[in-house]
């Protein structure tokens, strides 16, 4: 599915947070949204997920406007928020069934899809355990499995590796990449950690609400005359 953001601007009161941000995501591709804390990543995610209202600009998902046909657009999006959004007291399966119900899926269909996703994420044997008993990495996997239950074409992940150890971070990142290959899923992965990005990845660098760069990681480095993304990021944002 093609996703196109057109001239997105957003302000909280007098404070502009996003300024004329435009980009298009390639269908089935892994995209990294890189930016320091406070760059506007969460606000951008808020707009894409309709937790915030579009003030200026529009987002087109497979040609459908988020402004004009929000329900249609929302059906195509799966989201993993920065903070845990699982009910810790409920079991893994109960969390999945709840999410599926919110998307109008019958219990039977939800169970089939839920088990399929859990098998894929190697969590089926833990389906009846309360989420509280799972470690951080597994909780994240459950959140991704949940976000995929209604078979979206776009998966948004807002700093999904926050609070995970290095090994779990890498594992989660690898896993999401395989979803792009196996399911043709379009992924937008927001992060401030450069080690989560590969040189060939499509990278969008956001800083103080502006999109400073948009292209394959190595192309951006070449254009900036830098050795690697870390240096590019430092040069462009002064962070790093």
């Amino acid at each position: 599915m093609t996703i196109e953001a057109r001239n997105l601007s957003f302000r909280y009161g007098d404070k502009p947070v996003l300024k004329e941000v435009s980009f298009a995501l390639t269908s089935g591709g892994f995209h990294a949204l890189l930016g320091p804390n406070g760059a506007g990543k969460s606000t951008l995610f808020g707009l894409l997920t309709r937790l915030l209202a579009l003030q200026q600009g529009d987002v087109l998902m497979a040609g459908q406007s988020l402004k004009k046909q929000p329900a249609e657009a929302m059906r195509n999006i799966g989201v993993v928020f920065q903070q845990n959004a699982l009910d810790l007291d409920l079991t893994v399966r109960q969390n999945l069934l709840y999410h599926a119900a919110l998307h109008g899926l019958s219990r039977q269909a939800a169970r089939v899809r839920g088990d399929r996703e859990l098998t894929r994420f190697q969590l089926l044997e833990r389906a009846n355990e309360p989420v509280r008993k799972l470690n951080g990495g597994h909780r994240r996997r459950v959140e991704i499995a949940r976000a995929l239950l209604h078979e979206p074409s776009l998966l948004l992940l807002d700093e999904p590796t926050v609070g995970l150890d290095v090994a779990s971070r890498r594992e989660l990142n690898d896993h999401v990449r395989t979803l792009c290959d196996s399911d043709g899923l379009t992924v937008l992965w927001a992060t401030h950690l450069i080690e989560e990005i590969r040189p060939e990845d499509r990278v969008l660098i956001l800083h103080e609400g502006k999109l400073l760069a948009d292209g394959a990681g190595h192309d951006i480095c070449e254009a900036e005359g830098t050795r690697d993304l870390a240096e590019t990021f430092h040069t462009l944002t002064g962070a790093g």
Partner: protein, 268 residues
């Protein structure tokens, strides 16, 4: 979206609320202690002071326990609804609120379903309370338990919507203590829950009028009359109208234009 989608969503939200209730059943049980204390201790002490004459819907002289039982049913719903609505918006359930709002179904439907689900759990508690109240001889007619159900559900929707409205629009009241002092206690005390309004009128006419304007008074009266198999169209009418207005206002608070609080990582 087809009707089946709405139905699955409705069932899913109700199921989750009952699962959570089951997980937290000890907390819900302890929430019953408050109204039971009022019923057993407060009412026993006040029985001697406060004589209740024969007033509708009662056919005979009644004990003070019998008089305040419907008010305490309202109190259970009042506390639960406020606590539930606040936790929907602030920290504890911020994540699950986001998950709820990610649904492609219309937000007013999602929110009213959620309020209804929370309300039905409260109503379950009210029934447990009414069963325990039998021990102090609060014995409404058997059919009253069934006839009171719509009034209880309506009250829970009204107070849930009020809680949501407060939580989304009034930033200053962002903790439960504030809501308790400025909303729950005034609503409870300035109503017909603890004393009949004619007594209030004798004491202070302006207080009487405040009680009359308090929608909680009418919710309690709708509960009281239904429980004793009497029809009180005014109490029902006012409760239903206020529920409708508050629900419309509360769901308007969840338009994307107003959900900054949910989009940012920290409550604004």
């Amino acid at each position: 979206m087809k009707a089946a989608h709405y139905w699955h969503c409705f069932v899913g939200i109700q199921t989750r609320e009952w699962l959570r209730f089951w997980q937290q059943r000890t907390r819900f049980a302890s929430a019953l202690v408050r109204p039971l204390l009022w019923l057993v201790v407060f009412a026993a002490g006040f029985r001697a002071v406060l004589g209740i004459s024969i007033i509708p819907p009662y056919q005979t002289y009644i004990t003070y326990e019998t008089y305040i039982a419907p008010g305490l049913c309202g109190m259970i719903i009042l506390f639960n609804s406020m606590q539930g609505a606040l936790s929907m918006v602030y920290d504890r359930e911020l994540g699950s609120m986001r998950v709820l709002l990610m649904s492609p179904l219309p937000r007013p439907f999602l929110l009213v379903t959620k309020l209804l689900a929370m309300g039905i759990v409260s109503v379950g508690q009210v029934y447990v309370f009414l069963l325990l109240a039998l021990l102090v001889d609060v014995e409404p007619p058997a059919w009253g338990y069934l006839v009171v159900l719509p009034a209880l559900i309506l009250t829970s929707l009204m107070l849930g919507a009020l809680g949501l409205l407060i939580a989304t629009w009034i930033k200053q009241l962002e903790n439960f203590a504030g809501v308790m002092n400025f909303v729950i206690f005034p609503m409870f005390f300035m109503s017909s829950a603890l004393y009949p309004l004619w007594r209030m009128n004798e004491a202070s006419p302006w207080l009487y009028w405040i009680c009359q304007f308090n929608p909680f008074t009418h919710a309690v009266e709708a509960i009281r009359f239904s429980l004793y198999l009497e029809w009180n169209p005014m109490a029902y009418g006012i409760t239903a109208t206020v529920t409708l207005v508050l629900s419309l206002l509360a769901t308007a608070g969840f338009r994307p234009q107003r959900t900054k609080i949910l989009a940012t990582s920290k409550p604004a």
